[in-house]
Amino acid sequence: MSDINQPWTCPVPSLRHKTVLLGHGSGGKLMHQLIDTVFRPLLLPAELPVLNDAATLEIGDSRVAITTDAFVVSPLVFPGGDIGQLAVNGTINDLAVSGARPLCLSAAFILEEGLPMDALWSLVASMRQTAEAAGVPIVTGDTKVVNRGSADQLFITTTGLGVVDYAGVLSVDAAQPGDVVILNGAIAAHGVAVLLAREDMEFAHPVLSDTAALHTLVAEMLDASPHIRCMRDATRGGLASALNEIAESSHVGITLYEERIPIQDEVRGACEILGLDPLHVANEGKLVAVVARDDAEKVLARMREHPLGRDAAIIGEVSEDARHLVLLRTEIGGLRVVGMLSGEQLPRIC
């Protein structure tokens, strides 16, 4: 007989993380906890108010931005890109969304013993090509080799240096009620492309990563309006995590309109099949900008003239909300919360 008259409790141990889990690198909540409990208190100055994608320093009369990013994507080559392109574009983008004009990059390589020289050659050649196309040279670097099994083929870390010429101040805590949210194009392609490559799944129309350097697009946007409050590139954790960071830091609410968020049919279909929320899937060439409403059309028009902003759209607005929630008006007219990614979704996505 079932013991259905007893109070039902679920006996489970309460867990604390004694070791680092894959989820700590997800770009979502777990990673923010790791930053807040380990890296921030130990490494960063206490007076640093918010964490932007790059740090800005006053050196002489200049405002200089510096950022760094490590790339561990698996597989090294995927439809639409490779680790070399990500390593260049990712760091350029972190500078760009901080309002900085990228000047140069450094690159550090961790190589696993046994990595075929041909593979290394073609990936480094791809880096060079990407950097040349972006007009941002790689000026210094470092190489380390570890025993077979101590790393997986190739990890790359790039650091970027830029100057901030922008008259306004871009900061993740600067969004204000009444502002609008602009996105530069279709979301979730990178995460889906890498996942499909990894799982050996194919669709009739291949999904390509959206990896791209956004600095020239950002330059157009900054030139169009001095009232851009903040920008984020929506990488790990997707659009949802980028917007939650803005809502939380700026103490505002954000409402998105699902039917205005561009997404390719293939990507949408893949997300349905795999049970992924596209708002949580990584991008490598997408940015969100919070812009003063009066300047929104001006910024949007300039973005649409740029190849990386052709599908740019106003996807939502900023409002007062003491709970700092990101809400989504769904395609069928329902309303729901868009949370930050929790746990691990796809390890080693970039």
Binding site: P11, P13, R16, H17, L21, Q33, L274, G334, R336, G339
Partner: protein, 375 residues
């Protein structure tokens, strides 16, 4: 492998905002003149996912309560079953399972933690990937197979196809109909109707619920997973409840037939047999579990390995909490909001109960999609 691509247009038909608005109005008209509220239960994580993802709950009339029952297979997988998988993983066996199972806490640790400590644990989307993994290596591979009859059919097909010699199955499959009996018989139940899961009914057929309705007098409507499927099933269910009828209705006729998929049923019952066991946090469920029949002992991990879970527990001090009310939530007599831990100690990052781990768990879904704010 090439995957069929579902054209978005076919889905969009079932997401048409105009028809959504019409069904919403119909639901409101059906409930506007009621003195008391109506409570119905669905028994499927995919339904809760759809309700949450599309923000459907914000469209339901305030006096129509749609609650989620024990429809998350990951959530009801019992802790000793997780312990078995963790034990095997720590013995150097490759353990393969679905992503949601990865982080579910066992008595001492989860598979995710075993992996972080060096065990070989892999996540798959389809049982066929298990065979590929086993072919690629010499060592033993164990498929920690969880899920309801829908997933169990795929495991059965894998067994019938003759799996590689180094592959065995650790079955934690569960069978839905018996748990519906328990929920219907609960002393404080307020459930006036059930939405049955369309994918499970595709296999079992809808007639299987007639006996249930006859026994308990509670109507059942089979529902699909698109917004219009769910709304139209709710409209039918509320109409049936208002008329005081006791019957089964099929609101998912494009997939579900009266007798279901007989081939799938044959495969399922050829490989598995029901036995009684505990569902995590809920109850001892007569015939609620599925285990491999004796003639398939050669592919049964419990036969192949000496699984000494007590070794795993020795020296470990599990800190058990009695505050988690997952059981009550899955039984539909409480919501996550009633839980002292929800959103405080228990979050997807630090889950206390399994309902906060699985993407089909009520607590996780409410947390991610804001059931706690917009409902």
């Amino acid at each position: 492998m090439k995957q069929a691509f579902i054209p978005a247009a076919a889905q969009l038909e079932f997401r048409d905002p105009t028809r959504v608005a019409a069904l919403r109005q119909r639901l409101q008209a059906l409930t506007a003149d009621l003195d008391e509220s109506i409570t119905v239960m669905h028994v499927c994580g995919s339904h809760e996912q759809a309700i949450a993802r599309f923000g459907l709950r914000s469209l339901f009339p305030p006096n129509l309560h749609v609650i989620m029952g024990p429809g998350c297979p990951v959530c009801v997988t019992d802790m000793p079953e997780v312990d078995e998988a963790v034990y095997l993983a720590q013995q150097g066996v490759t353990v393969v399972t679905f992503g949601d199972m990865f982080r579910v806490p066992g008595t001492v640790k989860s598979l995710a933690e075993a992996k972080a400590e060096g065990a070989d644990v892999r996540i798959i989307y389809s049982p066929w990937e298990v065979v590929q993994i086993a072919h690629k290596q010499e060592g033993e591979v164990v498929f920690f197979a969880t899920g309801f009859e829908t997933t169990a059919v795929a495991t059965a097909a894998l067994v019938l196809a003759g799996p590689p010699k180094n592959l065995s199955i650790l079955s934690s499959h569960k069978y839905i109909p018996p748990i519906m009996e328990i929920v219907a018989e609960m002393p404080h139940t307020e459930i006036q109707g059930f939405l049955a899961a369309g994918h499970a009914a595709t296999i079992t057929g809808w007639k299987i619920f007639e006996r249930f309705v006859a026994r308990h007098g509670i109507p059942v409507v089979i529902a699909g997973f698109e917004p219009l499927d769910i709304l139209s099933a709710l409209v039918q269910l509320v109409e049936i409840i208002r008329r005081g009828e006791q019957r089964v209705a099929n609101a998912y006729p494009r997939c579900v037939e009266p007798e279901g998929n007989r081939n799938a049923q044959r495969a399922l019952w050829k490989v598995f047999e029901p036995f009684s066991g505990v569902w995590r946090g809920i109850a001892y469920v007569p015939n609620g579990n599925l285990r491999l029949r004796p003639q398939y002992a050669w592919v049964d991990a419990r036969e192949r390995f000496d699984i000494r879970v007590s070794e795993l527990l020795a020296g470990a001090s599990p800190r058990l909490t009695q505050e988690c009310i997952c059981g009550n939530i899955m039984a539909g007599i409480a919501t996550p909001r009633d839980c002292n831990l929800y959103g405080k100690e228990c979050t997807p990052e630090t889950p206390v109960g399994a309902c906060m781990v699985s993407s089909e768990g009520t607590c996780k879904i409410w947390y991610e999609y804001g059931g706690h704010v917009v409902s």
